[in-house]
């Protein structure tokens, strides 16, 4: 019996190696597996949310399940439909939960159900066991799961990566030097299973909401960028407008 026959009968199969996760930014974020995005200090949740939507939200259509804990909604508000990309091809199902345990259960249920194409859970804490369960469910069902965690979340995790997000002064606005420009964030990758050597790396990111591109900018780590002096061109515009 040759190999092809054996294989056809299901007696042997070639080892299915898991697809290699690209060991470069964003280290598998948005692909099946569990990823965590945490605030780096109180008040950075908007940055974490912005990074989440910029890094993975753009291409995902179908049903999103967004689990959120009531205490977080009361503190930092909710993500409006207007801020989400792809309005026409997407349905967002929000699950409101009272505690983190229920939130993690709902996230797992959503992954297993096969109804969701993306699961996002905003909970106050997560433990190793839950993150392991979510990782297994996520890889088995091929649904990306992202936990958005508060700054206080430090413990062990089984997630593929944990990002820590901080707001940075925005990019200079080309049209008006006094106005905020494209948002910039500092993302530190705290844990990364795909590329352990990348752990601790810092990325300064800029999100362009016109071209929908997330780019790494250099030389931003040291303090706010000074807006450029108004050139003749934009000075003229200001006067005219």
């Amino acid at each position: 019996m040759d190999f092809a026959t054996l294989k056809a009968k299901g007696l042997v199969r070639t080892a299915m190696a898991p697809p290699a996760v690209r060991a470069e930014f964003p280290f598998g974020l948005g692909e099946p597996g569990l990823h965590e995005i945490a605030e780096s200090a109180y008040g950075d949740r908007a940055a974490a949310t912005g990074f989440l939507l910029a890094a993975i939200g753009q291409g995902v259509c179908g049903a999103w399940v967004w689990v959120r804990q009531t205490s977080i909604v009361l503190d930092t508000g909710e993500v409006p439909e207007a801020a989400l990309p792809g309005l026409a091809s997407r349905l967002r199902l929000t699950v409101q939960v009272r505690n983190a345990q229920a939130g993690l259960w709902a996230a797992e249920e959503a992954v297993v159900s096969g109804a969701a194409n993306l699961v996002i859970a905003e909970v106050e804490q997560s433990d190793f066991t839950s993150s392991r369960r979510l990782t297994l469910a996520s890889t088995r069902h091929g649904v990306p799961v992202v936990l958005v965690l508060p700054y206080s979340c430090e413990g062990a995790t089984a997630a593929a990566s944990r990002w820590r997000l901080a707001s940075r002064p925005s990019a200079p606005n080309r049209h008006d030097p006094h106005a905020p420009g494209h948002p910039r964030w500092q993302a530190v990758i705290e844990r990364c299973r795909a590329a352990p050597s990348a752990t601790g790396q810092t990325f300064d990111l800029e999100w362009n909401d016109e071209t929908l591109s997330l780019s790494v900018v250099s030389g931003l780590a040291a303090g706010p960028a000074a807006p450029p002096a108004a050139t003749d061109e934009n000075r003229f515009r200001l006067r005219a407008g």
Partner: protein
């Protein structure tokens, strides 16, 4: 006044005054009648009686009326049904009298009028004969009518049969009073229809599982539920229906009932799905000393289109599997409670905090026409705008410093304003002589503080718009 058996033995009859009764028996025990508690107990008993027939109604303050048509064969005939019912009630410790007849009126009269030795089942069509010797008081007449009839010497129902209706009507003060007597008589004899109002609407589909040995274990209940669900779902499938509500009742042998209900967002009939919904709640069934009957009812049934799934996501118009989404919502709702699954729909409203509305997911995704988004919108919107105190400001410009959540924030850059007019049509004019709050326009600014955090703030009102005090500042949302 009511009296129990031992009181009646010494000659104290219901309807006697308490003073007279006390005179007969000085150490008589008496208690105020608690009608509310009676009604509650009677309703609970009615819920338990559902095990015999789904149609149970309250009959006055002390009776239950049941429609048993088509139910008697489950118990081996009408006599066996009555005997079984009586046996159960004795076991549960309820004193009772049962009668069965072709009309509600006849059953009412029989239950209250017959002696102990008589057979309680009156075959249909023989009402006139069966009721003839019963006292007039069992005919559900008003006290005035009863008094009048007694004065004429009419004390048995049979005496009414021969009397000419016209002659009877003339004896009463009003036509209505006479008609009421005739109506009750006709209803008892089956000459006129009587509506039957059951406590709860009859279920459209029901499956029952009597247990030869009382169940006490949760495994037994789970197995029973599984059998019932499979039977019920195949019954639904035969008719091409699905149900949105399922009620599982367990009847205890001591006369108690426990019930759990699950709801689905759209009609379902997959046994696995229904069982999963019940799994979260099955522990609430109290087995007590043993359960001897399980029942599963389906309500809110509707047609189910046997849909086929699109082969790939691209072929589906919506891009998501509506059935799977609905199943997920059901399971989450069953565990976390009603209203946990929310849809956000856009609303064509001016104020940004009202441009979106959250509704509980109910199986359908509503098509809402939304106004286009005009300006930049923040990634997080606070539930309600939070007022801030502004330290330094220029009129008609963004703040230079402000305190939000007890921290001073210095504004480095700002953009705006985006002026959003109020919805003047939603305000009512103030009553004359009263200063109402007039709608004020809002100027929204996108600002960034020295920490690099970006906010969406607005000033409610303009300086010198003559619509109240100086304008106030609020934080509406947070930009990424």
């Amino acid at each position: 006044m009511s009296a129990n058996a031992s009181a009646r033995a010494v000659g104290i009859e219901p309807g006697l005054r308490l003073t007279d009764a006390k005179a007969t028996l000085p150490d008589l025990l008496s208690e105020e009648i608690d009608r509310t508690a009676d009604l509650k107990a009677l309703t609970a008993l009615a819920a338990w009686m559902v095990r015999f027939s789904p149609l149970v109604a309250l009959d006055g303050e002390d009776g239950l009326m049941m429609e048993t048509t088509g139910c008697d064969h489950l118990f081996g005939g009408e006599a066996a049904l009555v005997a079984g019912m009586s046996h159960r009630l004795v076991q549960a410790g309820h004193g009772h009298r049962i009668a069965m007849a072709g009309t509600p009126g006849a059953a009412h009269a029989l239950a209250r009028g017959t002696g102990l030795g008589e057979p309680p089942v009156l075959p249909s069509g023989r009402e006139a004969e069966g009721l003839a010797h019963l006292p007039m008081a069992t005919l559900r007449l008003s006290p005035e009518a009863l008094t009048l009839l007694r004065r004429f010497g009419l004390t048995r129902i049979g005496q009414l049969y021969e009397i000419d209706r016209k002659a009877l009507t003339r004896r009463f003060r009003s036509r209505q009073a006479a008609d009421a007597v005739c109506l009750r008589l006709d209803q008892a004899l089956g000459r006129r229809a009587e509506p039957f109002a059951p406590l709860r609407p009859p279920p459209e589909h029901v499956e029952r599982l009597p247990c030869p040995e009382p169940l006490t274990s949760s495994e037994g209940i789970g197995d029973g539920l599984q059998q019932l669900t499979e039977k019920l779902c195949s019954a639904l499938a035969v008719q091409g229906l699905g149900a949105q509500g399922f009620m599982f009742s367990a009847f205890r042998s001591d006369g108690g009932t426990s019930t759990v209900t699950v709801n689905a967002a759209r009609p379902v009939r997959t046994p696995d799905h229904v069982l999963r919904l019940f799994r979260e709640k099955i522990s609430r069934i109290d087995a007590g000393f043993g359960i001897d009957l399980l029942m599963l009812e389906a309500s809110r049934t509707g047609p189910m289109a046997p849909g086929s799934r699109p082969l790939s996501g691209d072929l589906a118009g919506t891009g998501f599997d509506a059935e799977a989404v609905s199943g997920l919502a059901d399971r989450i709702t069953a565990r976390l409670g009603e209203g946990s699954v929310i849809l956000t729909v856009r609303d064509a409203r001016h104020p940004p905090d009202k441009a979106e509305r959250q509704i509980a997911y109910a199986g359908q995704v509503p098509e809402v026409e939304a106004a286009p988004i005009l300006g930049p919108r923040p990634v997080r919107m606070l539930n309600r705008p939070e007022q801030v105190s502004v330290m330094a400001q220029v009129p008609d410009g963004p703040p230079l410093q402000f305190v939000w959540r007890r921290r001073l924030r210095k504004v480095v850059r700002a953009d705006g304003p985006e002026r959003i007019a109020p919805e003047w049509w939603t305000y009512l004019p103030p009553a004359p002589g009263e200063r109402g709050r007039l709608p004020r326009t809002r100027d929204y600014y996108r600002i960034e503080d020295s920490d690099g955090r970006r906010y969406w703030v607005f000033r409610e009102g303009l300086y010198g718009d003559d619509r109240g005090m100086d304008p106030e500042w609020f934080v509406q949302g947070l930009f990424a």
